[in-house]
């Protein structure tokens, strides 16, 4: 058995347990090829609202997903009943589905054994969190907020788990990982001010609850009674979270097949794509690297392919798109093996430097309800939230009402004025750990705000 620290209370399956489950599941298989994916996790959370813990949860689950292939026919089934009867039922269901399925001309054979780098996304500090230590962290926010006459709300989650993949060709991959996140919104009791702060990391010890509470509190206080400004094009200083909110949509649009088929921003006329073309300011480089401890991800993808560092955009030029195994062999390229994280380079300026250099503009803390409007340009709409301010003559002068924008991160990165120091951000709207993202604060000209909102 894998040695586990005595302090670690979270349950997850060890490498040996995963191997044993995979072996049993594969022994029930009669398909030409079978792949077994095992995920086990302990998901723990504590919610707080109106300065008290409102709910919490500790849930343990392990799921086995079976993929069966007869020639070019395939099917899958999953179960969380891991005794022989449960595993056998899942294998039989998967095989039954596969036999009934028409042939898939795009089916790919299973991979043989692969070599994987060890994952770097595990933390004992995260795995050791229990309800009492979560409550202690939460009180570092609720107690000062209550003492200050403010209202704090928020969410803390810790996930401890393991993922494994095995197939009949001898491939076996295993990685254990952790994730943690803490976000808080502090509001004034009269509802005229609201501030947000959040952080995520696989290592809980990197998250400072008291500091997040203090930042959200300061924003709540300074954002009261916002003034209305005319919607229109503004120079905007985006805090790193707001940059993360938008830049992740570029990463989601990197699918090579959609580009080659003319269904994406990354399409070029004549069935071509934009690899080699400059699409954003030459100061911008976007990469992903699952072995970078700041944006750590899984060492393998769900088909067992090892992941690696990928340069998507370098000095403004598209370097790679995301090729799955089928599309890669179809167009004569190597499959990408992207790890899912995002790192955008930056500069040396602080957020304060960006503000100081702005004659007239807006400071945006984060965005909300982001929804695609036009895939052709990665155009999104959404609203600012929890800390939007007017900058005049290099200083924050007053809070402004929230604004709706209609704009694209591609346009944003073309209208770049300056970049600050990159940092890890919590950029998922739901407050889950989400994709690992490191981005800088940015100063951008001509960002397109289309209407005002009365929402605080």
């Amino acid at each position: 058995m894998t040695l586990r620290s005595l302090a670690i209370s979270a349950r997850y399956l060890s490498r040996e347990e995963c191997e044993a489950i995979a072996k049993r599941a594969l022994s029930f298989a009669s398909a030409d090829e079978t792949r077994v994916l095992i995920t086990s996790s302990n998901v723990s959370n504590t919610r707080f609202a109106v300065n008290q813990i409102s709910t919490g949860g500790d849930a343990f689950d392990s799921v086995v997903n079976v993929i069966s292939k007869f020639g070019k026919r395939s099917g899958s089934a999953s179960t969380n009943q891991l005794d022989d009867a449960g595993l056998r039922a899942a294998v039989q269901m998967s095989e039954r589905v596969a036999k009934l399925s028409p042939e898939d001309p795009e089916a790919m054979p299973e991979l043989g054994p692969q070599t994987y780098q060890p994952g770097v996304n595990w933390s004992d500090a995260t795995a050791s969190l229990d309800p009492a230590s979560r409550a202690t962290a939460v009180r570092r926010i609720t107690e000062p907020a209550k003492a200050a006459g403010l209202v704090s709300t928020g969410f803390m989650e810790a996930i401890t788990g393991a993922q494994a993949i095995a197939n009949g060709k001898g491939l076996f991959a295993y990685n254990r990982s952790t994730a943690s996140v803490l976000t808080t919104t502090v509001r004034t009791p009269d509802g005229t001010g609201s501030g947000w702060a959040g952080a995520t990391h696989h290592d809980w010890s990197r998250i400072d609850a008291a500091a997040l509470g203090a930042r959200a509190t300061a924003k709540a206080r300074t954002s009261t009674n916002p003034v209305a400004i005319e919607p229109g094009r503004y120079t905007v200083v985006f805090e790193p979270t707001a940059v993360g909110n938008l830049v992740q949509f570029i990463a989601r649009a990197l699918n090579a097949r959609a580009a080659d088929e003319g269904r994406s921003f990354f399409s070029s006329p004549g069935g071509k794509n934009k690899i080699g073309q400059k699409v954003v300011d030459e100061r911008v480089t976007i990469t992903s690297d699952p072995f970078d401890p700041e944006v750590a991800g899984s060492p393998f993808s769900s088909d067992g392919l090892p992941t690696q560092r990928v340069v998507w955009i370098e000095n403004g030029v598209v370097k790679n798109l995301d090729y799955d195994r089928y599309w890669a062999q179809k167009v004569g390229r190597a499959p990408t093996g992207a790890g899912g994280s995002i790192r955008m380079n930056g500069g040396s300026a602080s957020l304060e430097d960006l503000i100081r250099s702005t004659q007239r503009g807006l400071l945006v803390t984060r965005f909300w309800y982001l929804r695609p409007v036009d895939q052709r340009t990665i155009l999104y709409t959404g609203l600012t939230r929890d800390g939007t301010f007017l900058i005049e003559n290099g200083k924050i002068t007053k809070p402004v009402k929230n604004l709706r924008f209609n704009d694209s991160p591609i346009f944003m990165l073309n209208n770049l004025e300056a970049m600050g120091v990159p940092e890890r951000v919590s950029a998922s709207e739901g407050g889950e750990p989400g994709q690992a993202i490191v981005v800088p604060p940015l100063k951008v000209r001509d960002f397109n705000f289309t209407s005002l909102s009365d929402a605080v």
Partner: protein
């Protein structure tokens, strides 16, 4: 009130003893644990550990997704998950723990874990939780009113239907890509509480869908089959969706969108089809009338509400025009929210949310109903939960989720054509599209699937790049024509997100055809 089903509780009845439902699984499944016995273990363990109240949910959830693109199968997946969650109340503080391991030892351990967590959570307690009374349901059984068990239909038939629909779409000149899918869910849910309630429900959900993409002149346009909404029905809903017959129309419309006129920005009268308006109701009426939002409990993610504080808006806030009557229910036949009892054992009731344009009530759970005790006393009605407790899975704690929230039809027998004919300069919108709304539900922007220009009471052509921006009370205040019961249609979605960690709720919203005056329309088209 035709269209809006009054009551469809025929599936709900009391049973002396619980019978195991018919096993729909062709393949053998794991041995059935004795749920009633395990429920007793959970509740006893929680009580012994000091819980003042506890409930337990055992949920077996099976879903199947069949997806295709063009003339091939993109994926077939059949998933099952089974587990339980125990919720405990200790001195006014909640705790919750869950596990997939259905053994007596694990059930007992998890119940104690939930009590220990409630004690830890108590360290930050300000206002203790108190539950409104609810009648005990000793042995309740309810099942979605399905005609055809979706898991009994052969996968070949499902694939065959989707590929035939794809073929029909691709036969339209200009249609280049098509994807289609079917999703089915069957959920067996057992609930037991220390109050003595014990219920068993089998809930179904079905969604057929298709997306057609047309390309031409270096551009592309898509048409999604959103006018076929997901429902709480069986395979008969796929049959009735007539995918093959509809596919060529959706493809035609995708092709037409390529050459449609880009809209001129400005103010227009909007004639909205219920396949579009359901989403506007969801965002601008259903969400802001959730009581937890109004009380600040969702401030960190879903947001708060402009319909707050309760003491200043209940019975007084003017939400919209006199034609606006909004009702919450979990009883419309085939709706996604329909059930016999909610996830804390309460039989849901139909209730008014907006009456003749005035806001009159929020959605509630047992914990929340008492927050409005003063209001219900003032109205002379009992303080009880409306039955809005829901959890996405066995692994997630239940909390307040919206029921079906629907706009009631008007008294006059008006239809789509009547509203178009009465409109001089407007835009007709069918199907939901892009959507976004602020965290207090004031400022929203909605796109659609298909847009038509209306001039002089007639449709003169198709438009594209249309989205309208609105401020909720002004928008609903501009509702000046409403269709009759015959124009009523039930839309809805699986993806209603709220809570942290985010839980997804499935909900239906019904509406007749409607007209809104003088709404701000923007053009969303830009070139890269």
């Amino acid at each position: 009130m035709a269209g809006l089903a009054g009551s469809f509780l025929t599936g709900r009845n009391a049973a002396d003893s619980l019978v195991s439902p018919l096993n729909p699984y062709a393949a053998p499944i794991a041995a059935e644990p004795n749920i009633k016995e395990l429920a007793a273990v959970a509740l006893d363990a929680a009580k012994s550990a000091g819980a003042d109240y506890a409930d337990v949910r055992f949920v077996r959830n099976r879903n199947q997704n069949v997806s295709t693109r063009e003339q091939r199968v993109a994926g077939i997946a059949d998933n099952e998950t089974y587990g339980f969650g125990v919720r405990t109340l200790v001195n006014g503080s909640w705790g919750f723990a869950a596990s997939r391991d259905l053994t007596r030892e694990e059930v007992s351990r998890v119940a104690k874990q939930a009590v220990a967590q409630a004690r830890a959570n108590r360290s930050a307690l300000v206002r203790p939780v108190v539950l409104a009374p609810a009648p005990v349901v000793a042995n309740g059984v309810w099942k979605s009113p399905i005609e055809i068990e979706p898991f009994d239909v052969a996968i070949e038939d499902k694939v065959g239907l989707l590929l035939a629909a794809n073929k029909a779409a691709l036969a339209v000149k200009g249609a280049r890509f098509v994807s289609s899918s079917m999703f089915f869910l069957r959920e067996e849910k057992t609930f037991a509480s220390t109050d003595g309630s014990f219920t068993f429900q089998v809930i179904y959900r079905t969604e057929p869908s298709m997306t057609v993409t047309a390309t031409g002149n270096g551009d592309f346009a898509t048409r999604q089959s959103v006018d076929v909404a997901p429902r709480g029905l069986g395979y008969e809903h796929v049959r009735d969706a007539r995918l093959v017959e509809n596919a060529s129309r959706w493809a035609d419309e995708a092709v037409q969108k390529l050459s449609a006129k880009s809209v001129d920005v400005g103010r227009y009268d909007l004639v909205l089809h219920p396949s579009h308006l359901w989403l506007t109701i969801h965002e601008s009426v259903a969400h802001p009338t959730e009581l937890d939002r109004a009380m600040g409990y969702e401030a960190n993610y879903a947001g708060t509400s402009f319909v707050a504080p309760p003491e200043k808006v209940l019975g007084t806030l003017k939400y919209g025009s006199e034609l606006m009557n909004i009702r919450g229910d979990r009883t419309q036949q085939g709706s996604l929210s329909a059930c016999g009892w909610d996830d804390e054992g309460v039989q849901p009731e139909d209730f008014d949310i907006v009456k003749r344009g005035t806001f009159v009530d929020y959605h509630t759970t047992r914990e929340q109903a008492l927050w409005l005790d003063w209001y219900y006393k003032k109205r002379g009605i009992p303080t009880r939960s409306h039955g809005c407790s829901y959890a996405q899975t066995w692994a997630a704690v239940q909390f307040q989720r919206m029921p079906n929230v629907s706009l009631l039809p008007g008294d006059k027998d008006l239809g789509w054509d009547d509203l178009i004919a009465a409109t001089d300069r407007g835009i007709a919108i069918i199907g939901d599209g892009s959507f976004s709304i602020d965290q207090q539900r004031y400022n929203a922007q909605f796109g659609g699937q298909v847009f038509y220009e209306i001039k002089g009471g007639k449709i003169t052509g198709m438009l594209k790049d249309v989205a309208y921006q609105m401020r909720t009370p002004e928008f609903w205040g501009s509702l000046d024509m409403i269709g009759g019961a015959k124009s009523y249609h039930l839309g809805g979605a699986f993806g209603d997100a709220k809570g942290q960690p985010v839980q997804v709720n499935a909900v239906s919203h019904g509406a007749p055809v409607t007209r809104f005056r003088n709404v701000n329309v923007i053009n969303t088209g830009r070139s890269a």
